[in-house]
C-alpha cells in the first residue's frame, strides 16, 4: 500500500482466524491504513488480501455487506436522530426499510442508547457518539466487526462500558472482531490474538489465549536453606528446572503436574518456600519486546 511514493504497508503476510484480533502498534504504524485497505478505501499496490475467502481487489461488493466498520474519527450526520441515522445506515447495507427500523431500535438499546435514540446526533456527548458509531456498524448484522480505536476519548466509565460490550459480542460468538487500538489494556481485555505492527510491517503475532495457557506452565520459586539437589529432584518429577541463583529456580511444569508436589519436595528437604509465582507476560511485555526486537530500541 502506498501514499504517493511512500510505502505505508509492506511485506504483510498472515492468516487470522481468531474471534477477536487486536491490531497494535505505535502511532503511524499503519494500523488504520491496514483497516482502510481491507475495506477498499486505499488501493493496493501489490499483493492482495482475503476476507471470508473474498478477494479485496475484486470482490468488495461481496465483502462489504459482511463487514461493520466503526471509524476512528467523528463520523455522523448532525441533523439526524440516532434512530434515523442507524436505520439509514442499515438500509444502505441492504436491509429492507421496515427491518432496518426494527433493528435500529434493537441495536441502539443493545449499545445503551435506547433512551436517547430520538435525540439529534449533534447533541450527543463524545461517549454517546462512539456508541452511535458502534450501533451503525452492528445494525446490518455483520460477520466481521472492525473497530478503529473504539475507546478513544472516553472517560473510564464509558471505556468500561465499551470494553464490556466488545467482550459480550465476542462471547456471543456470532461475529469476528478486529480491534485496532494503541491502548494495550483494551486489547488485552478483549482479544484472543494480537498482531503488532511497526512502520507498516508485522513485528509480532501472538495468540494471547495460548500465551495465557502457556504462562501457567512457567513457575518461579524462591527458597531459603540448603537447596542442593533440589533441581535434580524436581527434574525427576518431570519438570524442567533451572537454578538462577540466590535460592531462585525457574521451572516448566509438565501437563497435569500438581503444585503441591513442589511443596512436598520442599518439606521433605526442610526448605523454606518463600515465593511461588506463575510467570505472567502482560501484553505490555509482549509489545515492548516486539518493539525492541523490531529495531533494537523503542
Amino acid at each position: 500500500m502506498r501514499f504517493g511514493r511512500r510505502e505505508i504497508l509492506k511485506e504483510l503476510s498472515i492468516a487470522l482466524g481468531g474471534r477477536t484480533v487486536g491490531l497494535l502498534g505505535p502511532n503511524g504504524a499503519g494500523k488504520s491504513t491496514l483497516i482502510q485497505t481491507l475495506l477498499g478505501f486505499c488501493p493496493v499496490a501489490s499483493g492482495t488480501a482475503r476476507i471470508f475467502g473474498h478477494d479485496i481487489r475484486r470482490e468488495l461488493n461481496k465483502i462489504r455487506p459482511l463487514v461493520g466498520y466503526m471509524p476512528e474519527n467523528d463520523s455522523f450526520i448532525a441533523n439526524m436522530s440516532a434512530v434515523s441515522f442507524v436505520r439509514m445506515m442499515g438500509e444502505l447495507s441492504g436491509l429492507p426499510a421496515g427491518v432496518a427500523l426494527e433493528r435500529a431500535h434493537e441495536v441502539l438499546f443493545y449499545v445503551g442508547l435506547g433512551e436517547a435514540r430520538y435525540r439529534q446526533l449533534g447533541t450527543y456527548s463524545l461517549g454517546m457518539k462512539q456508541l452511535a458509531k458502534l450501533a451503525q456498524a452492528l445494525v446490518h448484522g455483520p460477520r466481521l466487526l472492525i473497530l478503529d480505536e473504539p475507546t478513544n476519548g472516553l472517560d473510564p466509565a464509558a471505556r468500561q462500558r465499551m470494553v464490556r460490550l466488545i467482550r459480550e459480542m465476542k462471547d456471543a460468538g456470532e461475529m469476528h472482531i478486529l480491534l485496532c487500538s494503541h491502548l494495550l489494556r483494551d486489547v488485552e481485555d478483549t482479544c484472543e490474538e494480537v498482531l503488532i505492527l511497526k512502520q507498516g510491517r508485522i513485528v509480532h503475532y501472538s495468540n494471547l489465549e495460548e500465551e495465557r495457557r502457556a504462562n501457567k506452565h512457567f513457575v518461579e520459586i524462591e527458597t531459603a536453606g540448603d537447596d542442593a539437589g533440589l533441581a535434580e529432584e524436581l527434574a525427576g518429577l518431570g519438570c524442567s528446572c533451572k537454578a538462577t541463583g540466590a535460592g531462585r529456580f525457574r521451572m516448566v511444569l509438565p501437563d497435569g503436574f500438581e503444585l503441591r508436589e513442589i511443596y512436598r519436595v520442599a518439606a521433605r528437604r526442610d526448605l523454606q518456600l518463600r515465593r511461588l509465582s506463575h510467570r505472567r507476560d502482560t501484553l505490555e511485555d509482549i509489545f515492548l519486546k516486539a518493539m525492541e526486537e523490531a529495531h533494537g530500541s523503542l
Binding site: 475495506l39 462489504r64 455487506p65 447495507s93 434493537e106
Partner: protein
C-alpha cells in the same frame, strides 16, 4: 412504548436490490428538506407562474368567457416557441434560486462530520452517493420546470387539437430536454460547491457567485476587449443560447450553438472531476 430486548442477533433475511439503494439517500434528504417551512413556501411560490400560464391558455381558448368579459376581439400572444422559451427563462431562474437554497446542504454536512467512511464501508459506491444526492435536486427541480411545462404543452395541445400537437411535437421535446439539461447543470454545480465548501452558507454564496460573477465578468470582458467571447463564462447566456436553438427562437445571440454546447459539456466535466476528487472515503493529506 415498544420494549426491546437488550440483545444482539445477526441478520440473514432478504436484502434490497443494489441498484435502487441510491434512492435511500434521496428519500432521507427529502424528509429533512421538507421540515423547512421556507422551502415548502418557496416551492409553492415557484408554481405561481405555471398556474398563471395555465389560466392564460385556458382563457385564450374560451371564446364564450372572452365574449362574456367583452374581450372577444382581444389579441392574445401565440403559444409557441417564444412562449415556452419565456416559460423556461422564468422557471429556470426560480430553479436556480431553489438550487442555491437546497444544494449546498446536501454534501457539506457529510463532509464536515466525516460521514463518508460510513457510507463507503457499505455496499454503496461514490457514484451511487452522487446519484442519490443529485436525484433529490432532479426530482425537486423537475416539479417546477419541465413537469408544469409539459402540462402546459398538453393543455394547449388538448385545446388546439391533434394537428397542433403533431405539428409542435418538437416543442414538447424542447421543454423536456432543455429544462432537464438546465437541471443537470445546476445540480452538478451545486453538488460540486457543496463538496468543496464545508460551510453551508458559503457554499450557497458560491453557487450564486458562479452565475452572477460569471455574467458580470463576461459582460466586463466584452466591454473592455470589445469581443463577444465574454459570453462563454456566463452560464445564463450559454443556456439561453441553447434554449433559443431548441425553441427555434432567434435571440440574435452572441455565441454560436456549438460554442454553447462545448462550454456546457466542459462545465459538466469540471464538476464531475471536482466531485470525484472530493468524495472519497478517506481524506489524504499531503
Amino acid at each position: 412504548m415498544a420494549v426491546y430486548k437488550r440483545t444482539y442477533k445477526t441478520y440473514s433475511g432478504p436484502r434490497t436490490v443494489p441498484w435502487s439503494r441510491f434512492l435511500i439517500l434521496t428519500r432521507y434528504s427529502y424528509s429533512r428538506l421538507f421540515q423547512s417551512k421556507f422551502i415548502v413556501l418557496f416551492l409553492s411560490a415557484c408554481l405561481f407562474y405555471p398556474v398563471g400560464c395555465l389560466g392564460f391558455i385556458y382563457f385564450s381558448h374560451n371564446q364564450e368567457l372572452l365574449a362574456l368579459l367583452s374581450l372577444g376581439s382581444a389579441k392574445f400572444p401565440a403559444v409557441d416557441g417564444r412562449f415556452f422559451y419565456t416559460f423556461c427563462k422564468i422557471q429556470g431562474t426560480l430553479a436556480y434560486l431553489l438550487v442555491a437554497l437546497v444544494g449546498p446542504g446536501l454534501i457539506s454536512p457529510d463532509l464536515a462530520n466525516g460521514a463518508f467512511p460510513l457510507y463507503f464501508s457499505r455496499p454503496f459506491s461514490r457514484t451511487e452517493y452522487v446519484a442519490g444526492k443529485m436525484a433529490l435536486l432532479v426530482f425537486l427541480l423537475s416539479l417546477i420546470t419541465w413537469v408544469p411545462g409539459l402540462v402546459l404543452y398538453s393543455v394547449q395541445g388538448g385545446l388546439e387539437g391533434w394537428d397542433w400537437t403533431r405539428d409542435n411535437l418538437w416543442l414538447g421535446g424542447a421543454i423536456f430536454f432543455g429544462l432537464l439539461l438546465w437541471i443537470v447543470i445546476l445540480s452538478l454545480i451545486a453538488l460540486a460547491c457543496s463538496a468543496w465548501v464545508k460551510w453551508k452558507i458559503a457554499a450557497g454564496a458560491l453557487v450564486l457567485a458562479i452565475f452572477f460573477a460569471g455574467a458580470g465578468f463576461g459582460a466586463a470582458v466584452n466591454n473592455v476587449l470589445r469581443t463577444q467571447y465574454g459570453g462563454l463564462i456566463s452560464l445564463n447566456k450559454i443556456i439561453y443560447t441553447i434554449w433559443g436553438g431548441l425553441f427555434r427562437y432567434d435571440l440574435g445571440a452572441e455565441l454560436s450553438l456549438g460554442q454553447a454546447w462545448f462550454v456546457l459539456a466542459l462545465t459538466c466535466a469540471i464538476c464531475v472531476w471536482l466531485l470525484a476528487k472530493r468524495i472519497r472515503p478517506i481524506e489524504v493529506i499531503k
